[in-house]
């Protein structure tokens, strides 16, 4: 039983690796921009409300917690710098990626899964169209462009949310708050966050595509593919985050 499970896991890892390899090789001929537009819109504009909501609350709550703790040492004036560094390096990219794993990975898995069970992917192959070029490559590109942008947006919203609390409780002027952020925040903090979000964007798209592409077993299979996509994408994001953090700051 254990051996069988190990073999199945090894088979999945192998199949996933081959899928990733084939997906990136399928980029050429380059998908037409018009074909990518729907994915760009779906990933960016449609994800914006949830990103705004979560990022704003993240900044607000962090600010409350930090002011409460920093007051013990009389260091509450540093709240802006601490929030900005934490958000740009870590929380912004990871939170945004986790939300998008729930939204985008599941959406891609459900769409491709439905296409698989209704033979639409077979239809593409019969018409000599590489399904990976048609379905996966545009989404990989759209994710690579839009998810880092959303992350920058999430960072900004979180910092603004944090200022709302800090400004109200500590009566700090916005310019002083920004000055504090500029003192502590380095360009490497922002860049590392952006690079992380680029890697996360590929995980979000490729995992959703993988589970959707290999869906089996009707509507139940689509449900399983969707759940698996979100769970695996979330785990891979955290694992990748560990390695990237060790790479940049280790």
């Amino acid at each position: 039983m254990v051996k069988k499970r190990l073999l199945a896991a090894a088979e999945n890892v192998g199949r996933f690796s081959l899928f990733v390899d084939r997906s990136y090789r399928s980029f050429f001929p380059f998908p037409p921009f018009a074909h990518m537009f729907k994915d760009l819109y779906e990933i960016s504009v449609r994800s914006m409300p949830i990103i705004i909501l979560v990022s704003a609350f993240m900044g607000i709550i962090m600010s409350y917690q930090l002011i409460y703790e920093l007051r013990t040492f009389g260091a509450e004036m540093y709240v802006g710098g601490i929030v900005a560094v934490a958000v740009c390096r870590e929380l912004g990219p990871v939170f945004a990626a986790m939300i998008l794993a729930g939204r985008i990975s599941s959406g891609i898995a459900a769409e491709l899964g439905t296409m698989r069970i209704s033979e639409q992917i077979d239809a593409l192959e019969v018409m000599s169209v590489n399904p990976l070029n048609y379905l996966v490559a545009p989404r990989l590109l759209a994710g690579l462009v839009m998810i880092p942008m959303l992350t920058v947006f999430a960072d900004a919203i979180a910092i603004a949310g944090s200022f709302l609390v800090a400004g109200k409780i500590l009566h700090i002027h916005i310019l002083k708050y920004i000055d504090n952020i500029r003192f502590y925040l380095d360009s490497v903090d922002i860049l590392s966050g952006l690079l992380k979000s680029m890697v996360f964007s590929q995980i979000i798209v490729v995992v959703g595509s993988y589970f959707g592409y290999f869906t089996q077993g009707g509507a139940e299979g689509v449900g399983k593919a969707t759940t698996n996509a979100v769970v695996v994408a979330s785990i891979l994001i955290l694992v990748a985050d560990y390695f990237l953090t060790a790479l940049f700051f280790g």
């Binding site: 998908p31 074909h35 209704s118 639409q120 077979d122 239809a123 019969v126 000599s128 590489n130 048609y134």
Partner: protein
């Protein structure tokens, strides 16, 4: 000519095809009959390379599919069309975009054509299958029969040499089934297309077939004309075509 030689295929340890050999002559309508789940669609999918055989091979005009490189396989596939059981129309596209899809993505590459010309071509092709004023609808707005006809329009738009039909009349009312039968015959007689029809609709078999073959227990148990099929003594074939519940074919087998 399509030659299927000693084809074996199993899924999860279950043998579905156990040495199928069959020759499909050019310009004829060949129907493959058999019980549900006996491997008819699996056999059809091997013909266009959607499944890789465990053993055996499929050759199109002497060229073995498995030996072809990607480019040759693409060229070979462009000579085929496949009408899927549920139509397999792309949900995200309108009916007219679906119909002209094989032209826009000819050879696996996206081509830019004038939108108006494409819409005109789609409307003309849809008219051939008896559909009008549905061009801008989405597949989800069509009935089952309309989906199949729209899929048939997509299958013929790029003038293929071979059309493979996977249960074209299943789930359709008798009138619509007759319309589809007529379309299969028209495409065969007027355009000279070679057709392979997978079905268990015996009325349709009698109407359209030049050659009939029956798949049973992973093997071809009969191959011949409709007249020969009726005269054949094979009890499996007779039970199937006479719609009897007693005989060598067991319920649930």
């Amino acid at each position: 000519m399509i030659e299927i030689r000693d084809l074996h295929k199993s899924f999860n340890g279950k043998d579905v095809l156990k040495g199928v050999s069959l020759t499909i002559e050019d310009g004829k309508v060949t129907t493959i009959i058999g019980q549900s789940g006996c491997g008819k669609s699996v056999l059809l999918k091997h013909v266009v390379g959607l499944h890789e055989p465990d053993r055996g091979e499929v050759a199109v005009n002497g060229e073995v599919l498995a030996h072809m490189d990607e480019e040759a396989r693409r060229r070979c596939r462009s000579r085929f069309s496949y009408l899927f059981q549920g139509g397999a129309l792309f949900d995200s596209l309108t009916v007219w975009e679906n119909v002209v899809f094989p032209l826009v993505w000819e050879g696996g590459r996206h081509h830019h054509y004038d939108k108006k010309k494409l819409q005109k071509k789609a409307a003309e092709t849809l008219e051939l299958v008896g559909m009008a004023h549905v061009e801008s609808m989405k597949p989800s707005e069509l009935s089952g029969g309309m989906k199949k006809r729209a899929a048939l329009a997509r299958a013929i738009v790029h003038n293929p040499e071979y059309i493979l039909y996977d249960e074209p009349t299943t789930g359709l009312d008798p009138v619509m089934s007759a319309v589809i039968d007529d379309l299969i015959l028209t495409l065969n007689k007027e355009l000279g297309l070679t057709s392979v029809v997978v079905t268990h609709d015996m009325q349709s078999v009698s109407r359209v077939s030049d050659e009939v073959c029956m798949l049973y227990d992973g093997q071809i148990v009969f191959n011949g004309s409709v007249t020969r099929m009726r005269q054949e003594k094979n009890p499996v074939l007779q039970q199937f075509i006479q719609r009897k519940n007693k005989g060598p074919i067991l319920f649930g087998q």
